[in-house]
Every structure is written in structure tokens, then in C-alpha cells.
């Protein structure tokens, strides 16, 4: 979330699309309800009428996988009807930038495309062809009037001119009248002082076009001037309480803590690594915050290797693993490699891939090809017991499985970081049961054992023996020590910015981190969370900030530097005056003399840098100001996004498996850069009469994730006892299916038995003359519980193919059949 949960209450118009907030993020509805009480409009767009839809002022359905068409139509509507905030767009986004002549878009492909027959990516782009034109000083050329033919703004207009009502309706199956009503209502937030917000989740990410779904909305939010505003932003509702935290701390293969890049093999030295990943801007008005990259990477290395890291040995850079250039090591690739017997061992830590992973059948087979597997979890699950699951012959499976029982979150101390980026400290409740232990304890012990084994040498033992590993107190894992390590220390006496700091004291904020080895920080983004003033995340102050918009700056702590709404300097005009005078986020209140600002003072939230506003009260431009989007190299938000794998503008492509013979917007059917795997377990079927219905997966309020903690809970099982498939009355009639009866659902990859829920809440889609049916299944079940073994995972059906940027699977749109048993 660029904003945070409470901030939803400040919105004038809430669009819930790609999420089912009422069911899956119930608490969010506290704030949605509050906003509605104050007059906000709630719009919900979803293939199925959900508990969220039941509360919406406006509901419309769309076929799964057609979000970019839907939102692309909104971009066109905003541009055609001048609903955009021109001042904001011209000042804060890259709409005025001039794109180089090499850029082009033809037949559904951007310039620079190359097919990759060897896979798994279908193809790739030479992104250098999308570069901006630069002036002689190396600053992007701009036309703030937005008239230049190759300005981002004009290219945007041209790109979405094809997304007219008729075409969009044909693709989405949404009636034109619904499209118009929603575009009109939402784009009204482009007015000065109004803010609209988007609440999305896996309904947008789990597609071969996942990243671009979100990019399309980000473009809308920028056009309407909704970024940085209270009640605005782009808000991802995370599917687990600590997903934000785990991503921040490098859950994913391609990033190190704090979104630093994983080193590539070609980054042969620390200097080369830092040079490669540190962006350079020649614009004096661009803060280009990532110019500090080396300070963060070196401080991280100091935190990893402590005193063993010094300038002479590149702070231990060579001890860290490098990934092959061009290679990908995502979840898909891990299970693909495992399936192809290229992996020997596997830690399934707090995960249940036998049920949670797309194409779960492939994952289950793959696990049978390992030598060993360690399952760290609260209870045994379908993963730990995969070898005795349905269709398995235990005698023929060699994998040795170890179970390490972990304790549950309330039995341990530590922090979680919620969707709103709030790091919240939690105290230990009851002590762990039996011989279960906190994850930290298990990792600590594991590390100690490995260190012991490598003490007398071994292949490439340096990283292991040199790893700083002093996180225990009294023989147990100490979460405070880890939290402090993440924040970071001064490792020698230093003077920075005129202030003296003693060796061994905690760094007050990342502005003080250094690239010379005098500071350590496990994650620069969290530097400021545990300081000499104490554990900021444990704060429980209930006082709001001066602007009274629910920032509660003394409750817990929020990255970065306790800024509750990021990009907040875009919430003010060039003179530092809020676009919205009522629910303002920051307000420049420096002293003024002869029409010029002479001192700096911001009120409200922690501003995105405390520089002067771009303009003085008399309208003159300042040369000591900075553009508000400080994390972007050029300081401007990106309507044109030349860094994405699949193009600088989002374009509609059909899901890998779809019900239509034709993409009505361009000749490419599928995202030409999608990740698609080709083992014999990766069958796909598009426009195939055997699988005529669109399938999607989702969650219900009553269960959580793969159900490990809920399927064993009788009160929850009482409410949602069995895996079900929801379908329209029309489809049920067609197939002769009675409400409540058990049916078979199958895809090119697998099948399972479900209870049919025949409901008015699913309706067939009319796409031109074509009628398309869609069904949906929750993915919370697995054969282990209930004991009948009949309630299986919906992921047996889903494809392990996905987005080229994130490798998130397309589990929201695939093709199935439904038959009577």
C-alpha cells in the first residue's frame, strides 16, 4: 500500500477490483464503511458478485483476465473527457517526457521484441529502444504543455485510442452502460480536492499480465492526481499478515533486503555491482534517492559479516552467491528444476506447495524426486505427507521427509509488517507447545550447526564461517537483537552531518548510513525502526497528527522513516499548498519574504524529503527544490514505464488459456513475454472444447491460505465444510446440475470433486455473440483434512505459467470443464 488501512476512510470513491476485501480483508471494511458513511461511493468490479459486491453502490462484472481492457477503456475515457488533473500530470509525472524515435507499437508488440524459443519466457524486449530523448545536459527532454507528438502524454492517448466502449465491452463482457457509469464515477476524483483509491489483491497479480494490471491502475491514479493524497494511492491488500514484511526482507530470489538487487554473475566486484545498480541523474531537481545505493549495500554487507567485512575484501561481497545473468530462480523454476530431478534437497518453510502452488500435481510429483525434504510448519500438512497422498505409491518414493514443528505466531515475540507498511511489534502470549519452536530459534540452531560443520574447512566455507551469527541471548533466539541488527549500528566512532556518533550505538535513520563501512544495517528501509530511543514498532501512542486524517504517527512504526503516505509531496501543488485543503497530508509552512520562501517547514506527515516546494509564492521556480517522486531516477512518476519486461504501456492480452479465438485489440493472443513452462506436467488448453468454461480461484472469509490453520478448526469447518464450485443458474441448467450436488471439475492438468453452488451471483458473459460461462473455486482445501480425503486443492487445476516480471502464476484465469459425477 502506498497509503494504509485507516486512510481508506478519507476516500471519496473506492474502487475494489482484483480483490474481495469484505471477505478476505474483513477489517478493511471498517474503514470502507466509515468512508461510505461520509458520502464516499463504493464501486466493485468482479467476475462474481461477492460479499464485497453486496455492499457496493455500483457493481459490474467482468470476465477474468480482461482487467487491462477494462482499465484501458477508463484511461481513454479520462483523456477524451479531460477528466485528468492537468497541472498534476504535467508537473509530477513523466507525461511531458519525449520518448526516443526507436519506440514503437505495432501488431501488439512494442519495438525491440525477440522470441525465445527455448523458454520458459515466450520472448523478451530490448528495452533500450524505449529510452527517453535527453537534452545536452543528460536530462530528459520535456514538453510541459504535453503537445509534442512523442511526448508520453500523446503516446498514451494514441495507445489507448483503440480501447473504445464497444471493443472493451466485447472483451470484458461488461455491458457498455456499466463501463460508462463506472468510468464516469471514478474519474470524477480527478477534480481538485477529491481522492479515489483502489483496493486490489491477487485478483490482479495472478495473471500473465499481473504487473501491467496494476500499472494500468497506477496510470489512472496519476492522471487523476490521486497519488500521494489522503484517501488515494495504489493499495495492495496483502494476503497474509506479514507478506509486506517478508518481501521487504527479501523473500524473493531477485532482491536482497530493502529491494537491493541480487548480484548477477556479471557484477564481478562490489564496485561493478554498485555501479550497475546505482542510477545516475543529471537533473539538479531530481533527488534520485537510489543514488545512495552503495551506502545501503555496504551497510548490509557489514551487517552480514561484521568485523570480517572490510574495504580490502569488498566487505565480503565475493562471499555472497551471484545469480546467472538472464536466469530466473522463481518458485516456478524451483519446482520445474525439482520436477526435472535437478534438485536434491528442499526446505518447505511455512509453506504448503502441495496445495498452494499452481499446478499442485506437478509440485507433488516433483517432491517425490528429491533426496530429502524438511517441512517446517505448525502441523503436518499435504506437503510433509505428500508421499502418502492420493495417487502416490509410498514404496516407490525415495524422498526422506523431516518435520520440524514451529510454534504459532502468538507464541513468539517479534514484528510483522502489515499491508500499510506498519511494522508492529508483538509480544509473546502463551509459551510454545510441546517441542515446537519459533522459526528464529530453528534458523539460529541450523546456522550454528552448519557453521560447526564448516569450521575446519570445506568447499567455499568462507561465507559460512565469516557470517555474523550472534543473535542469541541465554541460549535462545533474541528477536530484539535481530531487530536492532536490521536497523543497524555505527561500527566505529564517527561524525556525520556535524553529529558525533559512538561505536555500537544504533543508527537514527538511513540518512546516516555510509558506504565506507562505518555503519551496518540489515535492511536500510528499516533503519529508524529500532533506535537509541527504543523499539519504534512497539509504540502504541494513540495521538493523531495535526492534520487529523488518521496517520497516528506514534502507533507502531512505518517504513520509510515513519512516513505513512508515500509520495506525499505530490499531494501539494508547486507552491506546497495541498490540492485538498480538508484532508491534507503535508502542508508547506515555511516563512515567506517578498514573495519567496526563506525557511523550510512542513506540517503533517513526514514529507518525502524536506526540500522547498518547486515554486515560491510569487510563482518563481526555485533551484533548490526536488521533484516529489524521489525514488524515480528523474523524480517523476512513470506513466511510461520503460523498465517493465512486457512493455512501457500496459496492453491487453488474453490469458494463456482463454475462451476466445481472437484478441480484439491486437493480433497477439498471449502476453508475448509470459513465462510458460513445458515439462510433460505443464499441459495447457486454450479454446479447447474439452475445457469450455473460464475457471478462477479465490478465498473465503472462513478459511485461510491452504487451510492448514482453519481446516483443523471445527467452528470454521462447520461454516465451510467442503470445497465448492460456484456457477450460474444458466450453466447449471445447461449441465443438468442441481444445487448442492457433487460434481467433477477438470482442467488440462488435473481434476477434483466439488460441491456445486448454483447461484445468481455468477452470470454468463455476453461477449458480442458469444456467451462465456465462468466458474470459481476456493483454494483452501487439501486431502489431509477433512478426513474423508475428498476435499482437494483447486491448484490441481491451475497452470504454472505467469507474469514475466514477477513469475506470479495465472491462477485467476484458466479453462475448465464441469461435469456431473
Amino acid at each position: 500500500m502506498t497509503n494504509h488501512w485507516i486512510d481508506i476512510k478519507n476516500s471519496d470513491c473506492i474502487l475494489i477490483m482484483g480483490s474481495n476485501a469484505a471477505e478476505n480483508h474483513p477489517i478493511s471494511f471498517k474503514y470502507v464503511t466509515e468512508a461510505m458513511e461520509k458520502g464516499a461511493t463504493l464501486i466493485n468490479v468482479d467476475p462474481r458478485f461477492t460479499r464485497t459486491s453486496s455492499k457496493a453502490d455500483i457493481y459490474a462484472s467482468l470476465r477474468s483476465g480482461s482487467d487491462i481492457a477494462f482499465l484501458g477503456g477508463m484511461i481513454k475515457y479520462i483523456l477524451d473527457n479531460k477528466r485528468y488533473s492537468e497541472e498534476y500530470v504535467a508537473l509530477y509525472t513523466n507525461a511531458p517526457f519525449i520518448v526516443g524515435k526507436k519506440y514503437g507499437f505495432k501488431n501488439g508488440l512494442f519495438s525491440g521484441y525477440e522470441k525465445m524459443p527455448e523458454g520458459p519466457s515466450l520472448g523478451k524486449y530490448d528495452k533500450s529502444q524505449w529510452a527517453f530523448d535527453m537534452d545536452k545536459n543528460g536530462v530528459p527532454k520535456m514538453d510541459r504543455k504535453l503537445k509534442h507528438k512523442r511526448s508520453v502524454f500523446q503516446l498514451l492517448k494514441k495507445h489507448y485510442s483503440r480501447y473504445d466502449f464497444k471493443t472493451v465491452s466485447m472483451i470484458t463482457g461488461t455491458p457498455e452502460a456499466d463501463l460508462k457509469r463506472i468510468y464516469d464515477t471514478y474519474s470524477a476524483t480527478g477534480e481538485r480536492g477529491k481522492a479515489g483509491t483502489i483496493m486490489y489483491a491477487m485478483g490482479w497479480t495472478q495473471h500473465t499480465t499481473g504487473t501491467q494490471n496494476i500499472r494500468t491502475m497506477a496510470i489512472i491514479q496519476l492522471l487523476l492526481g490521486n497519488m500521494g493524497m489522503a484517501g488515494g494511492g495504489v493499495n495492495a491488500l496483502r494476503g497474509e499478515s506479514n507478506v509486506q514484511g517478508s518481501t521487504d526482507h527479501c523473500l524473493l530470489w531477485h532482491i536482497w533486503p530493502g529491494y537491493l538487487k541480487t548480484a548477477r554473475a556479471s557484477n564481478t566486484s562490489l564496485a561493478a555491482y554498485n555501479e550497475k545498480w546505482t542510477p545516475v541523474s543529471k537533473d539538479p531537481l531530481s533527488a534520485n534517492w537510489w543514488q545512495n545505493y552503495p551506502k545501503y549495500s555496504v551497510s548490509m554487507l557489514k551487517s552480514f559479516f561484521g568485523e570480517k567485512a572490510n574495504a580490502a575484501n569488498e566487505f565480503g561481497y565475493q562471499w555472497l552467491p551471484k545469480v546467472d545473468d538472464g536466469a530466473v530462480y522463481s518458485w516456478f523454476d524451483i519446482f520445474d528444476a525439482m520436477y526435472k530431478e535437478k534438485m536434491k534437497g528442499f526446505f518447505a518453510w511455512g509453506m504448503n506447495p502441495a496445495c498452494s502452488g499452481a499446478n499442485a500435481g506437478k509440485n507433488r510429483t516433483a517432491m517425490g524426486k528429491l533426496d530429502w525434504m524438511v517441512n517446517v510448519n505448525l502441523f503436518d500438512n499435504e506437503t510433509g505427507s505428500f508421499w502418502k497422498g492420493p495417487g502416490m505409491n509410498p514404496a516407490s518414493i525415495k524422498t526422506e521427509v523431516f518435520m520440524l514443528p514451529a510454534c504459532v505466531s502468538v507464541e513468539k515475540e517479534g514484528s510483522i509488517t502489515n499491508s500499510g507498511r506498519w511494522m508492529q511489534w508483538r509480544y509473546q502470549g502463551p509459551k510454545p507447545l510441546g517441542n515446537s519452536r519459533p522459526d528464529g530459534d530453528i534458523i539460529l540452531a541450523l546456522g550454528e550447526k552448519i557453521k560447526e560443520l564448516y569450521r575446519d574447512g570445506g568447499v567455499f566455507h568462507e561465507p559460512i564461517v565469516n557470517l555474523k551469527w550472534d543473535y542469541e541471548t541465554g541460549g535462545a533466539y533474541d528477536p530484539h537483537k535481530v531487530a536492532k541488527e536490521i536497523n543497524g549500528y555505527f561500527v566505529k566512532d564517527v561524525t556525520i552531518k556535524g553529529k558525533n556518533f559512538k561505536k555500537g550505538t544504533l543508527v537514527p535513520s538511513f540518512a546516516f548510513l555510509q558506504a565506507d563501512g562505518s555503519t551496518s544495517s540489515g535492511n536500510w528501509l528499516y533503519c529508524n525502526s529500532y533506535t537509541e530511543k527504543g523499539n519504534m514498532a512497539a509504540r502504541r501512542g494513540q495521538k493523531d497528527a495535526v492534520n487529523n486524517i488518521g496517520l497516528y504517527p506514534e502507533f507502531a512504526w512505518c517504513w520509510p522513516v515513519n512516513r505513512r503516505i508515500i509520495y506525499n509531496r505530490a499531494s501539494v501543488d508547486a507552491k506546497g499548498v495541498p490540492w485538498d485543503r480538508k484532508d491534507w497530508v503535508v502542508y508547506f509552512k515555511g516563512e515567506e519574504k517578498d514573495g519567496k520562501y526563506v525557511s523550510r517547514k512542513w506540517l503533517g506527515d513526514v514529507p518525502d524529503g524536506g526540500w522547498y516546494p518547486l515554486q515560491n509564492p510569487d510563482g518563481s521556480w526555485r533551484d533548490d527544490a526536488k521533484h516529489p517522486f524521489i525514488m524515480r531516477k528523474h523524480g517523476h512518476a512513470q506513466i511510461f514505464g520503460p523498465g517493465r519486461a512486457d512493455g512501457p504501456f500496459p496492453e491487453h492480452y488474453e490469458p494463456l488459456e482463454c475462451p476466445v479465438e481472437k484478441n480484439y485489440l491486437n493480433p497477439q493472443m498471449v502476453n508475448p513475454t509470459a513465462a510458460v513452462y513445458s515439462s510433460d506436467a505443464d499441459a495447457h488448453a486454450t479454446c479447447d472444447p474439452r475445457f469450455p468454461y473460464v475457471g478462477t480461484t479465490y478465498r473465503v472469509s472462513e478459511h485461510w491460505q491452504t487451510g492448514l490453520m482453519t481446516r483443523t478448526q471445527s467452528w470454521l469447518m462447520e461454516m465451510q465444510p467442503q470445497v465448492f464450485v460456484e456457477m450460474s443458474e444458466e450453466l447449471a441448467r445447461l449441465k443438468g446440475i442441481q444445487n448442492g450436488e457433487r460434481v467433477n471439475v477438470s482442467s488440462a492438468r488435473g481434476q477434483l470433486e466439488c460441491s456445486a453452488i448454483v447461484t445468481k451471483r455468477f452470470k454468463p458473459f455476453k461477449m458480442g455473440d458469444l456467451v462465456v460461462h465462468q466458474v470459481g473455486i476456493p483454494w483452501h482445501y487439501g486431502w489431509r483434512w477433512p478426513s474423508t480425503g475428498k476435499e482437494e486443492s483447486a491448484n490441481l487445476l491451475t497452470p504454472a505459467a505467469g507474469d514475466p516480471n514477477t513469475r506470479i502464476p495465472e491462477t485467476k484465469a484458466f479453462m475448465v470443464n464441469v461435469t456431473k459425477l
Binding site: A22, F29, E37, M719, Q722, N739
Partner: protein, 239 residues
Amino acid sequence: MSKVFFIDTTRCTGCRGCQVACKQWHDLPAEATQNRGTFENPPDLSFSTYKLVRMREMETNGKLKWLFFPEQCRHCIDPPCLETAGDEEAIYQDEKTGAVIFTANTKNLFADEIIESCPYNIPRKAADGTLAKCDMCNDRVTNGLLPACVQTCHTGSMNFGDREQMTALAEQRLAQVRKKQKNASLVDADSVNVIYLIAEAPFDYHEFVTASAGAHGVTRHMALRKMVRPFTRALRQLA
């Protein structure tokens, strides 16, 4: 002064946190259920289910609605169940809170008669004839806590407090909801301590949303029974 619930169904998202909270606080066993082609489960109130969120889909003028009704005992101001039982040891009203409480002695009542007397079809019997229903979490309330279902509700659907405060809130919400939903109404506000705000016709939510006149309550037949009750009870106890 009696305590009152104000249940605003227009804010209810059907999350069923209240349904689980009720079971948790009373440590009531789960029922063995099946998916019956609906999210609503268990299928009915029972001896071990005091709170049930009813879910109904309806379509009017092409507009689909999914209505949620968190059903529970209304803690009637003049409770027909209590009246019918006529046995303070079995059914009584807590003077302080207004809670209508069923005790283990309900075993000695004519269960079907009590059930029949309830205009909202709330009480349910165990195999041995003992009756049970929502107890207003009277143990919590008398110790200064909110009822478990109210405590858990995050949308503001479930509210609890003194009568004046709750009726004021109900009136205020009604006025506000009516701006968008013309048919909104408060259900039997003067005769119960659990006041529902609904936006559609009562029957659209569930059969027993209002006390349908005549069909229930203390009928003549029951009034007669009441007169002979002391004798029948004595007889039963002897047997």
C-alpha cells in the same frame, strides 16, 4: 435499565465473525455440516448454535442483492417464552440487563410449547428436551464486557448499550439509510431488546424476522395450558 442490541444489517458483510465468536465464548461444539449449495451453514439454529447469519440472494429490477441477517434471540421486553414457561427456575429475565435466560431446568418444560410460543422461532431443544438460545452473553455483560458477537463485529453492524443510546443510534441510521434505500425499517423496536435495521422486506431476509401477528405469542390455547401447568408439572416430576 435494560440493555439493547442495535443490529444494522445494511453494514453487515456476512463475515460470520459473530457466529464463531458466539460458539467460542460459550464453547459450543461444531455441528457436522455439508455444503448445501450455499455459504449459509449450519442450516439452522440449534441447541449448540445460538447465532446464525442467514444469507439470501434476491434480484429486483435486474439488481442483485445478497442479504445478510445475523439471527439471534430478541430478548423480548415481555417474552412470550417466559410467559409460557411460567417457571422462573427455567426461564427468567435478568432485571439489570433485560436478558432472557434459559436454564438447565428448561428440561422440565414442554419444549415444543416454548418453541411454539416464540414469535421469532428461536429456542431449540436437545435430545433430552433441554432448551437453549442466545443468553446475551449475560456473564460478560454483567462483568462490563460487550457480548462476544458485538465485540467481534468490525463493521459496526452489531452495537450494544443502554436503550436510549441504542434507539437514538437506530433512528439516526434509519434516517441515513433511507436516503438511498427507501424501504429501510426498524423491526419491532418497541417490543424487543434486539433491534434490527433492515433495508428490504422482512421476508426477503428470513421467515422469522418480524413477529408475525397471531401465529405466535401467547395464544388462547397456551393461556389455557398455563392455567393447568402447575398440575402437569407436578405430574411430570412424579413420573
